[in-house]
C-alpha cells in the first residue's frame, strides 16, 4: 500500500473495512467540520496524567460552590482563565484498608493503581498503562513519561509493580529520543517501514490465508461467528498496514529546534523545576501532535517534593510538616506558595495542548488529561479531601467548566471514568474499599 491516498482510504472504508486506529491526522481526512473523519468516525482521543506533590490547602483551594458557577480560590486562581477547559473534582478519598500508611507513597499508589500498596509496593500496573495497552500499542511509543524534577525516579507510571517507566528528566535527552534520528517525520520525504511490524504483519497474514481447513468444518449457523473472527483479524492486518505506510503529513507536527544545553539547569530550585516542566510540556504536546504516542504521564515534581523556594530554608516536603499554620491566614503560607507554583505548572501544561490546532478545534479538545496528587492535607498525610482536575473534552465525551464535590468517593472512580472514556470495556476498578463500578456521571456528556 505505497500510495496511501485519501481516495484509496475512503474507498476502503466504503467497502466495509474499518480503519480507526493509528490513522494519520491529516486535515484532508477530516469532515468539513473538522470534528471527525470523513466517514463520521471521531478523531482519536489521547490521554494524559499529570501530577503534583503534597496536596493543597483546603480553605484556599476548594471552591465553596459546585457546578458551573464555582469560584477560583486564591491557591488555584491561576487556573481561572482555563475554566472552560477543565473540571475540578474535590473531596475524593484513598482507602488504604489494612495497608499501613507510608506518607507521600500510599496516596499516589492508590490513585494510580486503584488499590492499596503492599508495603511500599504497587500491587498492579498503573492505570495509564492499561489505557496505553488499549489505545497506544500501535504507536511508536506506547507511552511517554516525564517530570520537572531532576530525577528519573520521579515516575508514577508502572508497567508492573516492579517496572517503573523511568521518567524523562532532561529535556535535552528527551528531545533526542523523540525527534532525533529515529523520528519518522510525517512531513519528511523519506520513509522506512519497521521491519518488526513487517514481520508481524506477514505472519498474521499467513494465519489468515491458511484458514480453509477450519472453514470446512463449520456448520452454516456458526459460519457467521467464524467470519466475524476473520473480520477482526483483517482489521488487525489493516492496523499493521497503516503503520507500514508512509505517514501522512500532520499540519500540527512541527517540532521545535533542539533545546540549548546552556538553557538547562538541573537544580531543585523552584524556577528550574518550572523551566524544565515547561520544556517537557511542550515536548509532550508535540509528541502527541505528531502522533508518536497517545498516552503520556507528567509529574510536575516529586510527590515528596524537594523543590526549594529561594530565601526559605526548608524544601517543600519538610515545610508541609514543619511550617506552622498561620493563625490569621488559616493555612501554611510557604506550602501554599509551592502549591501555587504547581498549579501554574498545570495551567501551562493545559495551555500547551490547547494552543495546538487540530481540525477546527484544538489538540486539547481531543484529549483527556487527569491531574492528581498524593494527599489532601499533606501536613498530616491525609488521604481524604483529595483533589483532582481534568482537562480537555475527550473528543466531546467530557463536559468542562465544572466543580464536583465527590463526597468522599474513592479516587478509583476517576480512573474508571477515564478508562471507560478511553474505550475500555470494564465493569469495575479498584482494590479493597476502592472498588467501584460507577463512572463520574457529572462530568460525562
Amino acid at each position: 500500500m505505497k500510495n496511501f491516498s485519501r481516495r484509496r482510504v475512503l474507498r476502503g472504508m466504503l467497502n466495509g473495512g474499518a480503519i480507526t486506529v493509528g490513522l494519520p491526522l491529516l486535515d484532508a481526512f477530516l469532515n468539513t467540520n473538522g470534528t471527525a473523519f470523513a466517514d463520521g468516525k471521531p478523531l482519536p482521543v489521547r490521554f494524559g496524567l499529570w501530577s503534583w506533590g503534597l496536596g493543597m490547602n483546603h480553605s484556599i483551594f476548594v471552591p465553596k460552590k459546585t457546578g458551573k458557577d464555582f469560584e477560583f480560590p486564591e491557591e488555584i486562581a491561576c487556573l481561572a482563565p482555563l475554566k472552560d477547559q477543565i473540571n475540578l473534582l474535590t473531596n475524593f478519598s484513598a482507602f488504604r484498608d489494612a495497608a499501613g500508611l507510608v506518607g507521600h507513597v500510599t496516596g499516589w499508589i492508590i490513585s494510580r493503581t486503584g488499590a492499596p500498596p503492599s508495603g511500599n509496593n504497587l500491587t498492579a500496573e498503573t492505570w495509564d498503562i492499561k489505557i496505553a495497552n488499549q489505545i497506544s500499542r500501535q504507536q511508536r511509543f506506547k507511552t511517554l513519561t516525564a517530570t520537572g524534577s531532576a530525577n528519573a525516579r520521579t515516575s508514577y507510571s508502572y508497567e508492573d509493580p516492579n517496572t517503573p517507566n523511568p521518567a524523562e528528566y532532561s529535556p535535552l535527552d528527551f528531545y533526542a529520543r523523540l525527534f532525533g534520528p529515529d523520528f519518522n517525520d510525517p512531513n519528511a520525504k523519506e520513509f522506512k517501514p519497521s521491519p518488526r511490524i513487517m514481520s508481524r504483519k506477514s505472519a498474521l497474514s499467513a494465519v489468515v490465508e491458511d484458514m480453509a481447513w477450519l472453514n470446512k468444518r463449520v456448520g452454516a449457523d456458526d459460519k457467521a461467528r467464524l467470519d466475524k473472527y476473520f473480520t477482526g483479524l483483517r482489521h488487525l492486518e489493516k492496523q499493521f498496514d497503516q503503520q507500514l505506510t508512509k505517514p501522512d503529513p500532520i499540519a500540527a507536527c512541527r517540532p521545535a529546534a533542539n533545546p540549548k544545553e546552556a538553557e538547562m539547569k538541573m537544580g531543585n530550585e523552584s524556577q528550574y523545576v518550572e523551566q524544565r516542566h515547561k520544556m517537557m510540556a511542550d515536548l509532550l504536546a508535540m509528541a502527541i501532535a505528531c502522533d508518536q504516542t497517545r498516552v503520556i504521564t507528567m509529574a510536575y515534581d516529586d510527590m515528596s517534593s524537594n523543590t526549594v523556594k529561594p530565601g526559605y530554608e526548608k524544601p517543600h516536603h519538610t515545610s508541609t510538616h514543619e511550617e506552622p499554620i498561620d493563625e490569621k491566614l488559616g493555612y501554611q503560607p510557604t506550602c501554599s506558595w509551592f502549591t501555587r507554583r504547581s498549579m501554574e505548572g498545570f495551567a501551562y501544561f493545559v495551555k500547551a495542548f490547547a494552543d495546538i490546532k487540530e481540525g477546527d478545534g484544538t489538540l486539547l479538545d481531543n484529549m483527556l488529561v487527569v491531574a492528581d496528587t498524593d494527599h489532601g492535607d499533606a501536613r498530616v498525610h491525609s488521604l481524604e479531601n483529595m483533589p483532582m482536575f481534568t482537562a480537555g473534552r475527550a473528543g466531546g465525551k467530557f463536559k468542562t467548566g465544572l466543580h464536583v464535590d465527590m463526597k468522599g468517593a474513592p479516587l478509583s472512580r476517576m480512573a474508571l471514568t477515564a478508562m471507560r472514556t478511553m474505550g475500555m470495556d470494564i465493569q469495575k476498578f479498584g482494590g479493597g474499599s476502592n472498588l467501584t463500578s460507577d463512572s463520574i456521571s457529572e462530568i460525562l456528556v
Binding site: A18, F95, D97, N133, R137, P195, R196, M198, S199, R200, S202, A203, L204, A206, V207, D210, M211, W213, L214, R217, V218, G219, D221, D222, R225, L226, K228, Y229, F230, T231, G232, L233, H235, L236, G423, D425, I426, Q427, K428, G431, G432, S433, N434, L435, T436, S437
Partner: protein, 556 residues
C-alpha cells in the same frame, strides 16, 4: 524440553479404574447434542497457556462476559460472537505471551533446541519448537503445509530482524491468534456403530472431555490419545476418563463448574453499602467465593462425599477477613473450620457468598434468596414480577412492619404477587437470620426473626431445617445432573436428552451422590459425544412444575 510435558506426565499418568462401568448403549441412539463452535472462556485460555508454557507466564486476560443460558454460563460460549475489540484483546495477550515465551528467562526451558546462531534463522530448531506449539494449541491438527508456512515466516522474520527468537515471537503471536486456538470448532463424522448417526470426531471429543473436566484445552497426552482413536474404544476411553478424574487438574475443572452453577461470578462486582455493613470488608466478596469453592472441592473431591451434604455440613474453610464477618476466630491463611451448632451455619446456603450475592446492598432479600435457591440449586424457573406491581409496601415499608416476614406477608396477601412469592419466600425467609452481608442476627429492628418455612410441602422451623429439606429433596441431585450435562456439552439440554439424564440420575443415586461417578457416567455416555441436528427444540426448564410445588415434591 517443554515444561508442559512434565506437567502432563503427572496429570494423566495415574490410571486406576475405581468406578463401575455404566451400561453400554443403554440410551436411545437419538440422544445427543448438536456440535458446537465454542469460545474459550478467560480461565480456559489462561489454563491452556499456563499448563503448556508454565504458570509463571503472565496471562492478564479478561474476555467479554458470557450470557447465562438456561442456568449455565458455559452454554453462552456456544453462542457468543467475537467483536473486533475482542480480537484486539486476543492480540494484546498474544503479544504479551509470545514476548515472555522467547525472553531470555524462558527460552532456556521452553525451547527444545538452541539455534546454531541466534542472530539468524534456524529452520530445524524453529520446526521443532513450532510443531510442538501448534500441535498443542490448535484443536485440530492443521495440514502439513501450515507448519512449513509458519516455519518459513519465522525464518524470514529472523533474517529481517537479525534475531532467531524475534522471528519465533512474531510467528507465535500469530499462532496464538489463530481461531483454532481461541475457538473450539467441533466437527462430526459418521458413527460406525450406529449407521446413519453422527458422532463428534476424536479431537472434538477430547476437547469436550478436557474443557469439562480440566477447564483447559486438551494437553499433548490427551491429543495423542485422540490421535490414536482410543476415545472410540469404550475400555480405553474409560481408562482415559479415570485418569483425568484422578488428576489434580480435576479440581480446576470442578471449581469452574460450581462457580458457574452457583453464579459465583457475581462476587466480582458485588458491593455493599459500607455504612450499613461495615464488616463487609474490601476484598471479602472474593474470599466468600473462595470459601464456597473450597467447601465444594473438600466435600466432593477430597472426601469423595455426598453432594447433598453440601447443604447441611457445618464444615468449611475460614480466612481472617471472613472471620470478621462471621465473628469467629480466624488465623492467617485459609484454615479448615467447623461452625459450632449454635452458629446456625449449616450448608453452603448459609455461607456469605450465597447470602450476600442474593441480597440488596442495604438489606437482605428473602425473595432473591428464594429465587436463587429455586433457579440455581433446583433448576426451577421463577417468573419475573408483573410489570404493574406496587412495590411501595416493600420499598417504603410501614415502620410498624419490622421484619422481612411481616413486609412480605403483604405480598402474599396480594393475589397478583402471591403466586410467585409463595414459591420463593418460604425458603428465603428461613435465611432471614442472616443480614444482607451474611452476618448472623437474631432480630430485625428489635423484632425477633422467625426463620420457619417450608420447601415443597416440607415444613421446618429454622435454617438447619431448610438445609435438611434440601438435602432430602429428590429434585436437588437431579438439578446438579442437568447442570453438569449442560455445562459439559456447552449448550442447552435438549428435550431428547431426558432418557440420558434419567440414567445419570440413577447412577448418581446408586453411587451415593458422589461427584466422580457422575462425571464418569456423563463422559462415557453416548449422549456426551453423539451429534444430533440442532432442530430438536431445547427443553423448557421445569418451570411448568413451579405453580404447584406440592406436585414437584410428590412426583419428581
Amino acid at each position: 524440553m517443554l515444561a508442559a510435558a512434565l506437567l502432563v506426565g503427572s496429570a494423566l499418568g495415574v490410571s486406576h479404574s475405581t468406578f463401575a462401568e455404566p451400561a453400554k448403549d443403554a440410551v436411545a441412539a437419538d440422544v445427543g447434542t448438536s456440535k458446537r463452535l465454542r469460545l474459550l472462556t478467560t480461565q480456559q485460555y489462561v489454563n491452556t497457556i499456563q499448563y503448556f508454557f508454565g504458570a509463571d507466564i503472565k496471562v492478564d486476560a479478561k474476555f467479554a462476559p458470557l450470557t447465562r443460558t438456561d442456568g449455565v454460563l458455559m452454554a453462552g460460549t456456544s453462542v457468543a460472537g467475537v467483536s473486533d475489540a475482542q480480537i484486539e484483546t486476543y492480540q494484546k495477550i498474544a503479544n504479551i505471551v509470545s514476548t515472555q515465551v522467547v525472553d531470555a528467562r524462558h527460552r532456556e526451558t521452553l525451547f527444545p533446541c538452541k539455534p546454531l546462531d541466534d542472530k539468524t534463522a534456524d529452520n530445524a530448531c524453529a520446526t521443532k519448537f513450532l510443531t510442538r506449539v501448534i500441535d498443542y494449541l490448535y484443536f485440530i491438527p492443521p495440514p502439513k503445509e501450515h507448519y512449513v508456512k509458519m516455519v518459513n515466516e519465522a525464518g524470514v522474520a529472523a533474517k529481517r530482524l537479525n534475531d532467531f527468537y524475534a522471528g519465533i515471537q512474531v510467528v507465535l503471536e500469530s499462532v496464538l491468534l489463530n481461531p483454532d486456538v481461541l475457538l473450539v470448532v467441533e466437527s462430526e463424522e459418521p458413527d460406525p456403530r450406529h449407521p446413519g448417526h453422527m458422532r463428534l470426531d476424536s479431537y472434538s471429543q477430547a476437547s469436550r472431555l478436557s474443557l469439562f473436566l480440566w477447564n483447559a484445552a486438551p494437553d499433548p497426552a490427551l491429543r495423542a490419545v485422540a490421535n490414536r482413536g482410543d476415545l472410540f474404544d469404550s475400555k480405553k476411553r474409560a481408562r482415559v476418563v479415570d485418569s483425568m478424574l484422578a488428576s489434580p487438574r480435576l479440581e480446576t475443572g470442578v471449581r469452574a463448574f460450581f462457580d458457574d452453577m452457583f453464579g459465583l461470578e457475581g462476587t466480582e462486582t458485588l458491593s455493599k453499602d459500607a455504612t450499613v455493613y461495615p464488616y463487609f470488608l474490601g476484598g471479602i466478596a472474593a474470599e466468600a467465593r473462595e470459601q464456597t469453592l473450597r467447601t465444594v472441592v473438600d466435600q466432593l473431591l477430597k472426601r469423595d462425599g455426598d453432594y447433598r451434604d453440601l447443604f447441611t455440613s457445618r464444615e468449611t474453610f475460614m480466612s481472617p477477613t471472613l472471620g470478621i464477618l462471621y465473628g469467629v476466630k480466624a488465623l492467617p491463611g485459609w484454615r479448615a473450620y467447623e461452625f459450632p451448632p449454635e452458629a446456625h451455619r449449616a450448608g453452603i446456603l448459609t455461607q456469605a457468598s450465597f447470602l450476600a450475592l442474593n441480597s440488596h446492598s442495604t438489606r437482605s432479600s428473602a425473595t432473591l434468596r428464594g429465587k436463587a435457591l429455586r433457579e440455581l440449586i433446583l433448576c426451577q424457573k421463577v417468573p419475573p414480577p408483573p410489570a404493574n406491581v406496587d412495590f411501595s409496601a416493600v420499598e417504603n415499608p410501614d415502620p410498624k412492619l419490622k421484619t422481612a416476614r411481616q413486609r412480605l406477608d403483604l405480598h402474599r396477601q396480594n393475589p397478583v404477587c402471591a403466586g410467585c412469592h409463595k414459591i420463593t419466600d418460604p425458603m428465603g425467609l428461613a435465611l432471614e437470620n442472616f443480614d444482607g452481608a451474611g452476618r448472623y442476627r437474631t432480630d430485625e429492628k428489635g423484632a425477633p426473626i422467625d426463620a420457619s418455612g417450608s420447601l415443597d410441602g416440607k415444613a421446618f422451623t429454622d435454617v438447619e431445617g431448610l438445609g435438611q429439606a434440601l438435602h432430602d429433596s429428590p429434585i436437588l441431585p437431579t438439578c446438579l445432573v442437568r447442570r453438569a450435562f449442560s455445562y459439559a456439552t456447552a449448550g442447552v439440554v435438549p428435550m431428547s436428552a431426558d432418557p440420558a439424564l434419567a440414567q445419570f440420575n440413577k447412577t448418581f443415586a446408586s453411587e451415593g451422590y458422589r461427584l466422580r461417578p457422575l462425571l464418569k457416567a456423563i463422559t462415557l455416555n453416548d449422549a456426551f459425544s453423539k451429534v444430533i441436528e440442532p432442530s430438536a427444540a431445547p427443553a423448557a426448564e421445569k418451570s411448568a412444575s413451579i405453580p404447584h410445588p406440592e406436585k414437584v415434591a410428590s412426583n419428581p
